[in-house]
C-alpha cells in the first residue's frame, strides 16, 4: 500500500514497483482465498464423508476408504427407513423441536419484554436467576428432571421431553431477546400506541418485527438444541414409539456393531431440517433494522 505513495514511478522507468503493487495484491488475494478454502474444506469434508458413506455399500465402507463411492446405492436409506422405521423418530423430533421453538419464542418474548419495559419489584433478582438457570449444567439436572417427570406422569412421553427442553431453552432465549428488545427505542412503541395499537399490538407489530434477527437467532438456537439433544432423551424416553432422531440413531448401535451405512444415512436425513431452518433464518439475520427511526 505504502509503495504507491512513496514513488510515483514514470512509465518509462523500468521498475519493479508497479508490478510489486500488482503482485502484492495478487498475493493478498491468493492468501485470502487459500485460507477460506482451507476453512471450507475443514467444515465441508466431514459432511461430504457422511454423505458419501451413506451412499456406499457395506463392503466398500469396511474395506479401503475411498473418497468417491464406486457403486452408488440407496440401500442404507432403505434399511434405515423401511427396516428400522426411522421416519417415526424424525417426525417425533420435528414435533418436539418445533413445539419447543414456538413456545420458547412466545414465552421468552413476553418475559423479555416485561424485563425490558416494565418496572416491578425483584426484577433484577429474577433476571439473575434466569441467567443462573441457564448456566446450570445439564448433567447436573438430568436425574432430578427425570424423577420430576416421572412424578408428573410425564416420563416416557414427548410432552415431558418438550417441557424439559423448555427449561433449558427459555432462560437463554429470554436473555438473548432482552438484548434485542432493548435495541428498539421506547418511543417507537409509544408512537405505535398513539397511532392506535394496544400494548400487545405494539409488541407484536413493532417490537417483534424490529427484533427479527433476535427471533431468528433464538429459533435457531432452540431448534438446534432440541433437535440434537441426546442425553435427556436417553434418560426420559424408553418406549420405541417416542424416540427422537438422535435417540433412534443411538439405538442403531447394538453392542459393538456400528452399522456405518444406515448411521450416516440417518445423519444425512437429520441434517436436512436444520439446513432448511438455517437457510430461512439467514434472511432475517439482518443488521441495522432500527436505523433511521430516532434522531437525525
Amino acid at each position: 500500500m505504502s509503495a504507491s505513495q512513496a514513488d510515483p514511478v514514470p512509465e518509462t522507468k523500468k521498475s519493479g514497483s508497479v508490478l510489486d503493487e500488482r503482485s502484492k495484491f495478487m498475493l493478498g488475494r491468493v492468501l485470502t482465498y487459500g485460507i477460506l478454502v482451507l476453512a471450507v474444506v475443514l467444515i465441508v469434508f466431514p459432511m461430504y464423508w457422511m454423505i458419501s458413506i451413506s451412499l456406499k455399500l457395506p463392503r466398500e465402507i469396511y474395506r479401503t476408504p475411498s473418497l468417491w463411492p464406486q457403486v452408488f446405492t440407496l440401500e442404507n436409506y432403505r434399511i434405515l427407513i423401511a427396516d428400522k422405521g426411522f421416519l417415526r423418530p424424525i417426525l417425533n423430533s420435528l414435533l418436539v423441536s418445533t413445539v419447543v421453538t414456538v413456545i420458547s419464542v412466545l414465552i421468552s418474548s413476553f418475559a423479555a419484554y416485561s424485563m425490558v419495559r416494565f418496572r416491578y419489584r425483584f426484577k433484577g433478582v429474577i433476571g439473575r436467576i434466569i441467567l443462573f438457570a441457564y448456566l446450570t449444567p445439564t448433567s447436573l439436572l438430568f436425574i432430578p428432571l427425570s424423577i420430576l417427570m416421572a412424578r408428573l406422569q410425564l416420563g416416557n412421553s414427548l410432552h415431558g421431553l418438550i417441557l424439559v427442553y423448555l427449561t433449558f431453552s427459555l432462560p437463554l432465549s429470554t436473555w438473548l431477546l432482552q438484548g434485542y428488545f432493548r435495541g428498539v427505542p421506547r418511543e417507537l412503541e409509544e408512537q405505535g400506541m398513539i397511532d392506535g395499537l394496544s400494548r400487545l399490538g405494539a409488541l407484536l407489530r413493532i417490537v417483534l418485527p424490529l427484533s427479527a434477527p433476535g427471533i431468528a437467532a433464538v429459533s435457531i438456537f432452540t431448534f438446534t438444541g432440541a433437535w440434537n439433544e441426546l442425553l435427556l432423551a436417553l434418560v426420559l424416553v424408553t418406549s420405541e414409539t417416542e424416540r427422537t432422531a438422535p435417540l433412534a440413531l443411538n439405538y442403531l448401535i447394538t453392542s459393538d456393531v456400528l452399522p456405518w451405512g444406515p448411521l450416516m444415512a440417518g445423519a444425512v436425513i437429520s441434517s436436512v431440517p436444520l439446513m432448511v431452518l438455517y437457510f430461512i433464518a439467514q434472511h432475517f439475520m439482518v443488521q441495522g433494522l432500527t436505523a433511521g427511526s430516532v434522531k437525525g
Binding site: P185, E187, L188, E190, Q191, G192, M193, I194, D195, G196, L197, S198, I206, P209, L210, G288, L289, T290, A291, G292, S293, V294, K295, G296
Partner: protein, 359 residues
C-alpha cells in the same frame, strides 16, 4: 379539535414527586407552548396528556371527556417526539398513513390524506423512502406529516425541532406555526427554547421543577413576569436582576445595590421599599446617554459584543454584572466609563425573599 383541561395534575415516580399539581386550561384551537429548564417536567406532563405515563393525581380532560384512564389510542391525539420515532421498517407513506390504517380507513382515503400532507410538507418525492434514507430535517417533516394526516383533537409536540440546525429550526418554526394556524388544532408544544416559545405561542406556560410559574400571552410574560424566575427565563439576553434596596432622600429615590452602587429612580417605586428587593431591567431598557443627563449613572464598560443589529455592553453595577443592549452604533472601548439611564416605565421590582413581583 377540542379544548384541553388539566386540573391539579400530579405525578410521582415511586415516592419522588415530579409534577406538583398543574392546572392549565387550553382553549379549542389554541397554541400553547410549555417552557422551562431541563428536568422541570415538561415531557412528563406531555406524556401524561398523551396517556403514555399514568397520572398520580388530578384530572385531564380532552373535549369534555375525562381521559385519565383512557389508553393513548383512545384519546385522539397525535404526538411528535423529539427523536421523531419513525417506524424504520415502513416507508414514509406507510409511516404517515399507519394511524389511518389502524383506524381501518379505506385505502383510497389514506392515500389521499397522505398525499395532501406530503404536498404541504414537500415530502411527495420522498414517499417511497425508508427513514434511514432521509436527512434529519426530512425525518422531522415526516414526523410532522404523521401528526397532521390524522386530524386529531390535540397535537402534542415534544421539542420537535431540537435536533435540527439553527437555520432549519427557524424555517420549521414558521412552518409549524402557519400550519397550526390553518388547521386550528389545539396544540401543546414543549420546548426549552424561550425564543421558540415566544414566537410560536398564543399562550406560554412557564414551568419550573414541576410547578407552573406563570401562564400568559408571550408579551404579557415578557412585559410583566410574575416572579424572578420567569423574568430571567424569558428574553435573551436575560433581564438584569440587581439586588438591593430603595433609599429616599428629599423626595428623590435611589436604588442602592448590594455592592453599594447608587442608581437614580423615579417615584414609581413599590410600597415595600425599605425591604430588600430585586430590581429587574431588560438590556434594551437601559440606554447610553450623554454625560450630565439627569437620572443617569456612570459605569465602567467591561465587554462590548457587537451582534450586528445591536451591541451588547456588559458593565458592572456594584457586585452585579449587567448587560445593556443598544441599537445605535457607537464607540466605547472596553474599560471606558459610560453614562447609562433606565427607562423608568420598564422597571420591574421583585421581593428578594420569595421572588414575587411587587407592584
Amino acid at each position: 379539535m377540542a379544548k384541553l383541561n388539566l386540573n391539579n395534575v400530579r405525578k410521582s415516580y415511586g415516592k419522588v414527586p415530579v409534577i406538583h399539581g398543574v392546572s392549565i386550561d387550553i382553549e379549542d384551537g389554541e397554541f400553547v407552548t410549555l417552557v422551562g429548564p431541563s428536568g422541570c417536567g415538561k415531557s412528563t406532563l406531555l406524556r401524561m396528556i398523551a396517556g403514555l405515563e399514568p397520572i398520580t393525581g388530578g384530572e385531564i380532560s380532552i373535549g369534555d371527556r375525562i381521559v385519565n384512564d383512557l389508553a393513548p389510542r383512545d384519546r385522539d391525539i397525535a404526538m411528535v417526539f423529539q427523536s421523531y420515532a419513525l417506524y424504520p421498517h415502513k416507508n414514509v407513506a406507510d409511516n404517515m398513513g399507519y394511524a389511518l390504517k389502524l383506524a381501518k380507513r379505506p385505502q383510497q382515503e389514506i392515500e389521499r390524506r397522505v398525499n395532501e400532507a406530503a404536498e404541504v410538507l414537500d415530502l411527495t418525492p420522498l414517499l417511497g423512502r425508508k427513514p434511514a434514507q432521509l436527512s434529519g430535517g426530512q425525518r422531522q417533516r415526516v414526523a410532522m406529516g404523521r401528526a397532521i394526516v390524522r386530524d386529531p383533537k390535540v397535537f402534542l409536540f415534544d421539542e420537535p425541532l431540537s435536533n435540527l440546525d439553527a437555520k432549519l429550526r427557524v424555517a420549521m418554526r414558521a412552518e409549524i406555526k402557519e400550519l397550526q394556524h390553518r388547521l386550528k388544532t389545539t396544540t401543546v408544544y414543549v420546548t426549552h427554547d424561550q425564543i421558540e416559545a415566544m414566537t410560536m405561542a398564543d399562550r406560554i406556560v412557564v414551568m419550573r421543577a414541576g410547578i407552573v410559574e406563570q401562564v400568559g400571552r408571550p408579551l404579557e410574560l415578557y412585559d410583566s413576569p410574575s416572579n424572578v424566575f420567569v423574568a430571567s427565563f424569558m428574553g435573551s439576553p436575560a433581564m438584569n436582576l440587581i439586588t438591593g434596596s430603595v433609599a429616599e432622600e428629599a423626595g428623590k429615590f435611589e436604588f442602592v445595590s448590594e455592592g453599594g452602587a447608587r442608581l437614580p429612580l423615579d417615584g414609581s417605586v413599590p410600597a415595600k421599599r425599605r425591604d430588600k428587593l430585586v430590581l429587574g431591567v431588560r438590556p434594551e431598557h437601559i440606554s447610553l446617554v450623554d454625560a450630565g443627563t439627569v437620572n443617569s449613572f456612570t459605569s465602567k464598560v467591561v465587554v462590548t459584543e457587537p451582534t450586528g443589529a445591536e451591541t451588547l455592553i456588559s458593565s458592572r453595577i456594584g457586585s452585579t454584572e449587567i448587560v445593556v443592549a443598544v441599537r445605535d452604533r457607537f464607540e466605547v472601548a472596553m474599560g471606558d466609563e459610560a453614562q447609562f439611564a433606565f427607562n423608568f416605565e420598564r422597571l420591574h421590582y421583585f421581593d428578594a425573599e420569595n421572588g414575587q413581583r411587587l407592584s
